[in-house]
């Protein structure tokens, strides 16, 4: 986790001091654009965590694997964390650049907001509902549905080019980006991905210990 934090931190510092400046003539907020050096990697990391949610949900729904249930719980929390990073930093940049924090007509913003709301729902549901097979099925079904939104969210800017900037990776050259910016993004993404794996491992350890504790407490009773 420390290595991930360090690498992501270096990415942030490089984004703040080394990345090229934007022209004040073509941007309303030429410095605030530097938000993207964590905003974009956080979005990519959230796509990874939604992928983990999909795998966990599928493993539970298809094969009733206990590890699938554990993984989907961890992934929902991490999806909420990185989703919140995106939906908080995005509107801050929107306020600076567009003059409004949110554009309700932009499908990329709205599909990503639904994705993050879904992660919030899953985290709250898991904490408030009794752990029954029926609940696990509903939870996993929603987790599977959530992953369907990932490609839709990613492609939203290509299918309906609205306010949010277009796709960069896999754009076929249309959304070419400065190589320095891309390198810093990749560095920050590597850091966040390592951090996320570390957080997932600690969360898994917590769940393992809680399970063991419950077993021992039963023996005590």
């Amino acid at each position: 986790m420390l290595a991930g934090l360090l690498i992501a931190g270096i990415g942030m510092v490089l984004g703040l001091v080394y990345a090229p400046s934007m022209s004040a003539n073509s941007w309303n907020a030429p410095e605030a654009y530097r938000i993207i050096f964590w905003h974009v990697p956080a979005a990519w990391t959230s796509f990874l965590t939604f992928g983990m949610l999909f795998v966990g949900s599928l493993a539970w729904m298809g094969k009733r694997k206990e590890w699938g249930w554990t993984l989907s719980g961890i992934a929902a929390e991490l999806s909420l964390l990185y989703g919140l990073c995106v939906v908080i930093s995005g509107p801050i940049w929107g306020s600076a650049e567009w003059g409004v924090p949110w554009d309700w007509t932009d499908r990329r913003l709205n599909t990503y907001a639904v994705l993050s709301a879904l992660a919030l729902f899953l985290v709250l549901a898991r904490r408030s509902q009794p752990d029954t097979p029926e609940f696990r099925d509903v939870y996993s079904g929603i987790g599977l549905f959530g992953f369907l939104l990932v490609p839709i969210t990613y492609m939203a800017t290509r299918w309906w080019q609205e306010r949010h900037p277009g796709p960069i990776v896999g754009s076929g050259g249309e959304g070419s980006v400065d190589s320095t910016i891309l390198s810093i993004w990749l560095l920050s993404f590597a850091g966040m991905a390592i951090l996320m794996v570390g957080q997932a491992m600690v969360s898994a350890e917590v769940q393992k210990c809680e399970q063991r504790l419950a077993e021992l407490q039963q023996r005590l009773d």
Partner: protein, 57 residues
């Protein structure tokens, strides 16, 4: 200058969120490990008392 305030606010919120989440899972881990150790100690004592009692019989 306003521009930089937006930048600072965005990074502060992201660092705060990631830092808070990381701290709370590490805190949860140390808490649950402490509870687990306590229960294991209690069970260990209980088991050894049971062994002592059965050997006295």
């Amino acid at each position: 200058m306003d521009d930089l305030w937006y930048l600072a606010a965005a990074y502060a919120s992201m660092i705060g969120l990631i830092g808070w989440f990381t701290w709370q899972i590490l805190d949860r881990l140390s808490n649950v490990k402490a509870r687990l150790d306590a229960v294991e100690d209690t069970l260990g004592e209980k088991d050894s008392e049971e062994i002592d009692a059965s050997s006295e019989e």
